[in-house]
């Protein structure tokens, strides 16, 4: 019985402590210091979006002052925003949602490449009406997203591997169905092209409007909150009754359809359907924009506004470096450095937060 009475003693000790009526209110340690630290962290957290905005604005001013009308001419600004920024910004919207819920899509760049071909095949070989063919091209992204969701969520393959596989499959589909030959845009869909891309500012207008919508979806709708929940605490989200699988499937499909949209935009913008349009570059730049913008790859946090300005910064650099005569070659060094710097900031922030929590 020594064992039993031992347990009993410790219990009565606790009861005694209870009975003395310890003071209420002070729930946790560290009132003043903790509050000051959390206020500082909150400012830092907001600053992450502000930082990338300031970087983008500073880059813009630098090139505008240094190169004058070479940079600020309408033609060049169209290149900066519609050509260099918009496609990455749009794909980044989907990637941010995926990264927040703990997944990634490496295949989206090949949806960009295959969507125009699908549309072309449907019109040229199957005599689909133009609008219907465009609808199917968008649907391609939804289907690819569903397949990515199926293997990741239902089968249980990590999305990094799933989308590596589907990306290669799409690349193979592009190459075999096109016989590596470019195609021309069918005449009967040229008209709606101006709404999608031909009008010089359309791509960036699409990007801005979509970014605003996605920002609101992320911060002010159940879908957005549940996406954060799934990435932040998947078991907890499931226990709260959130349909975790539905959220992940949905975000894969969302990313896919954005890939299709960018594919069509590129087709109109370059006035060409090219077998080389599908590549990893779309995804890499989009993820770069997201990470520079403050989206951690740890899941549970990320911002649409940050990713958008991350894409703007990329777009300005892509255009500005050749203008100042540095050339495009060392650009990747800058991007790589920016990714590392942003990630280090993210990791440090998380550490600080965890320390502040205890």
């Amino acid at each position: 019985m020594e064992n039993g009475s031992g347990v009993h003693v410790s219990e009565t000790a606790e009861q005694a402590a209870l009975a003395t009526g310890a003071p209420r209110g002070g729930l946790g340690p560290g009132g003043g210091l903790g509050a000051a630290l959390s206020a500082a962290l909150r400012m830092f957290g907001r600053q992450r979006e502000a930082t990338v905005f300031v970087v983008a604005a500073a880059l813009f001013l630098y090139f505008a002052i240094d190169k004058g009308s070479d940079f600020t001419s309408k033609a060049n600004l169209v290149t900066v925003f519609s050509d260099n920024t918009a496609p990455y910004a749009i794909i980044a919207l989907g990637e941010v949602f995926l990264l927040i819920c703990g997944e990634i899509d490496l295949s989206v760049g090949f949806v960009v490449g295959f969507a125009p071909y699908l549309m072309y095949f449907l019109i040229a070989f199957y005599h689909f009406p133009g609008l219907l063919a465009i609808l199917f091209a968008l649907l391609l992204g939804v289907v690819v997203g569903w397949v990515n969701g199926f293997f990741t969520v239902t089968v249980g393959v990590p999305s990094f591997i799933t989308t590596l596989g589907t990306g290669f499959i799409l690349l193979g589909l592009i190459n075999t169905t096109s016989h590596d030959q470019p195609a021309t845009i069918p005449a009967d869909i040229m008209g709606i092209g101006k709404w999608i891309a031909t009008y010089a500012w359309s791509p960036i207008v699409w990007a801005v409007v979509l970014a605003l919508i996605f920002h609101i979806v992320l911060t002010r709708t159940r879908w957005g909150l549940h996406t954060v929940s799934v990435g932040g605490n998947q078991l907890g989200a499931r226990e709260a009754g959130i349909h975790v699988n539905r959220i992940k499937y949905g975000n894969f499909m969302l990313t896919g359809v954005l890939g299709s949209l960018v594919g069509l935009q590129q087709m109109y913008f370059t006035n060409n359907i090219s077998p080389t349009a599908g590549s990893y570059t779309w995804m890499f730049y989009a993820v770069t924009a997201a990470v520079i913008g403050g989206t951690a790859m740890l899941g549970g946090s990320g911002t649409i506004i940050g990713a958008f300005f991350g894409a703007v910064a990329l777009g300005i650099l892509l255009d500005g470096f050749p203008l100042v005569g540095i050339g495009a070659d060392p650009l990747s060094i800058v991007f790589g450095g920016a990714i590392l710097a942003a990630m280090v900031a993210n990791v440090q922030l998380t550490r600080l937060r965890e320390r502040g929590q205890s």
């Binding site: 039993g4 009993h8 219990e11 209420r24 729930l27 946790g28 903790g34 907890g236 226990e239 929590q357």
Partner: protein, 269 residues
């Protein structure tokens, strides 16, 4: 062993007053059996303590009762009607809510966002942050839970505050039945007292409660009745007044001793 057989089932006589009745529930995960045959009852306005060793099946039973998992076999009656709890949402709509041991809080979201997690107030398509903030604050004040602000991420709260948030959230929709999984685990005496206060308050509001605990001394303060679960079965059903922390401890210790003796016999043989 007297300790392992059901001793005088004070419950099964008066079934009209039962809000919840569970009959012959079992649960297996593949080859592993978590619950062999569990029957229990919960009277209206009663606080039932569910005790037992780690791995005895307490959490599994709770996850079945809140709709998170489906039983392999057995029946559940809610206010006399047989129900099949298809999901957490479904159980919640029937008036059963739960606080998981891990609390199911999302660190990245604020206090009010967590309190309304998966039951957000919506004016389609947007969530109504203002209304949710206000109601969360009112609700916490009502329950005597003191949080500096409902706008801070829950990651910044202490263990007791997090637990209090989880409990407050679970009674938002005025459930008839509340399930609490180890609400006192990993908590100091002071913080535990706040949670026990909450439980007492809820009981006064006629909420029926099942509470899992391993600290018998603390749990007996608020419980009307205690059920012990061992090896996936209910082995003891006592009114709290008819037992004591010492007796419950003794039963568990006797169980340990038996297991130990069996092992020694097995190794020496």
């Amino acid at each position: 062993m007297a300790a392992t057989t059901p001793q005088g089932q004070p419950g099964f006589a008066s079934q009209d007053t039962d809000i919840l009745r569970v009959e012959h529930i079992s649960k297996s995960y593949g080859a592993v059996t978590a619950l062999t045959d569990v029957s229990l009852r919960l009277a209206r306005g009663e606080v039932l303590g569910l005790i037992g060793d780690n791995g005895a099946g307490k959490s599994t039973l709770l996850k079945i009762l809140c709709g998170f998992q489906q039983p392999t076999a057995g029946r559940i009656f809610l206010e006399g009607q047989e129900v099949v709890l298809r999901s957490v949402d479904h159980a919640r709509s029937l008036g059963i809510d739960v606080v998981y041991q891990d609390l199911a809080l999302i660190n990245q979201l604020t206090v009010f966002q967590n309190m309304f997690l998966n039951r957000e107030k919506v004016r389609w398509p947007l969530v109504r942050n203002g209304a949710m903030r206000r109601e969360a604050r009112e609700h916490l004040d009502e329950m005597g839970v003191h949080i500096p602000s409902v706008n801070v991420p829950v990651a910044r709260l202490s263990g007791g505050q997090r637990q209090a948030i989880a409990v407050a959230r679970s009674v938002f929709d005025n459930p008839k039945i509340l399930l609490l999984d180890e609400p006192l685990a990993a908590m100091g005496v002071k913080e535990g007292a706040i949670i026990l206060d909450l439980v007492t308050k809820l009981k006064q509001n006629n909420v029926s409660i099942i509470i899992i605990a391993h600290n018998y001394g603390q749990v007996l303060q608020v419980c009307d009745r205690v059920n012990m679960i061992q090896d996936g079965k209910i082995t003891l059903d006592r009114l709290a007044d008819d037992t004591s922390a010492e007796e419950l401890t003794e039963i568990v210790v006797a169980e340990y001793r038996k297991a130990l003796e069996e092992r020694q016999r097995a190794t020496s043989a």
